[in-house]
Amino acid sequence: MTIFHIDMDSYFASVEQQARPWLRGKPIVVSGRPDIHSVVAAASKEAKRYGIKAGMSTWEAKKLCPEVIFVPGDPDKYESVTRRFLGILISYTPMVEVYSIDEVFLDATDILPRYPDPIALALEIKRKFREELGEWITCTIGIAPNKLLAKLATEEAKPNGIKWIRPEDVPEVLRNTPVEAVCGIGPRIAKRLSYMGVWTLADLGKIPEAYLKRVFGVYGTVLHLWGMGVDPTPLKPYWQEEEEKSIGHSHALPKSLRHPEGARRVLYYLSVKTARRLRKKGFVGRVIHAMYRDEEMKYFGAQKALSTPTCDERRIFDAAMEIVERLGGFPYGVSLVGVRVAGLERISAHPYPLFPEEARREKLLSALDRIRDRFGEEAVIPASALDCQLLVGATGGLGREREIARAVRAS
């Protein structure tokens, strides 16, 4: 088996530099609005030289590089470019997994006999990307016998490179790869492994599976396989529908809304967005989960099961507020709020409302949905959530891989 891992370099930033040539060669950061304490979604190659990384707060980025240029995220633009490069990959094989908006796995086993070697195919993919997307949007390709090793190969070849790990190279790669380089082994697991004298993947492979299972539970089996250079996760092609488990939204609060009333309004706004997504996807949910983060960056959250499943923002919001009150209410300085609906069921499996009040409410929601379908998501906003328009325009795209896979399937 030969797996290609294709990772777009500094993706959102490169797309912006491709679209706006005067930004090329400059340190830029794609983020939400810098005034609402947002995070770096992507840093350009030039910004990375200053130590700016994705996930960092915008003020930290500004501290590292005062001349950094903040560019607001444009999720539609990135999704559109992703769909175009996916189109190129799908023209080779349907065995393409959309791992994230800028990362793809491709099973090249069946197409490789047409090429002298995997590098020739990788070069052809890179050339087609350049022709279709532009010269500034580049990618790195890792090639290996499985997804784990292909991702490791990509990390070594970044940016704009190609690396092929042949089956005979695997033992050496395992000897040279620190455990924390593997996506899925975080600093805490790495620390616990270091107490066991495990520093590299080869060290991990030497630990008996039974011992790892005793220490890490079922995760021990996965760790053992990784130590042997084996990846137990199969490639999930884009055409295989994956059932949603939960739907929700969370948002960092701008300074002007960091008080109990502001957080309540944002929670209502997020409940409206969540309910809208539930209805759009044809789901109702029974379990409501609400969370917030205080000014010391500590998270608080709990969940509540409803007697009947819902896709009504009012019920979602009321349940979420009940949870927040149970946790002691929003404190002053609250910096992030979120709501999530789980225990999803198909809306079609539920009977029509029995009581006139419920039926009126359902009609109202369906009318609002039709208005939003026609005039855009922000066409109707509850008056109490009007302040939350400040949140519109924050960076998106991350975590939209399911929607992208679905859109590619549909086209």
Binding site: A19, P21, R84
Partner: protein, 82 residues
């Protein structure tokens, strides 16, 4: 900025999107020097095409609204900054 524009496009075989070749702007037809990026934008359920292109040392963002069959100039910027 929402300024109506006239754009001459070329439909090339094998190309995913029509390519603007000339833009009627500031009272004259100007040749498109380069198309930097084309992307889709969904507005109220309608797919618009957005082109980032340069002509005469200026960068433009122009959008095609397929429902009204109209082109609009959305943004303008000098191609290189001092």
């Amino acid at each position: 900025m929402e300024e109506p524009l006239e754009v001459e496009v070329l439909f090339s075989p094998g190309k995913r999107y029509p390519e603007p070749i000339q833009v009627f702007w500031r009272g004259a037809w100007e040749k498109v020097e380069k198309i930097h990026l084309v992307h889709e934008r969904w507005q109220a359920g309608i797919r618009h095409l957005v082109y980032s292109l340069s002509l005469g040392g200026t960068w433009l963002s122009v959008r095609f609204d397929p429902q009204r069959a109209r082109w609009v100039l959305e943004e303008i910027h000098p191609l290189s900054e001092p």
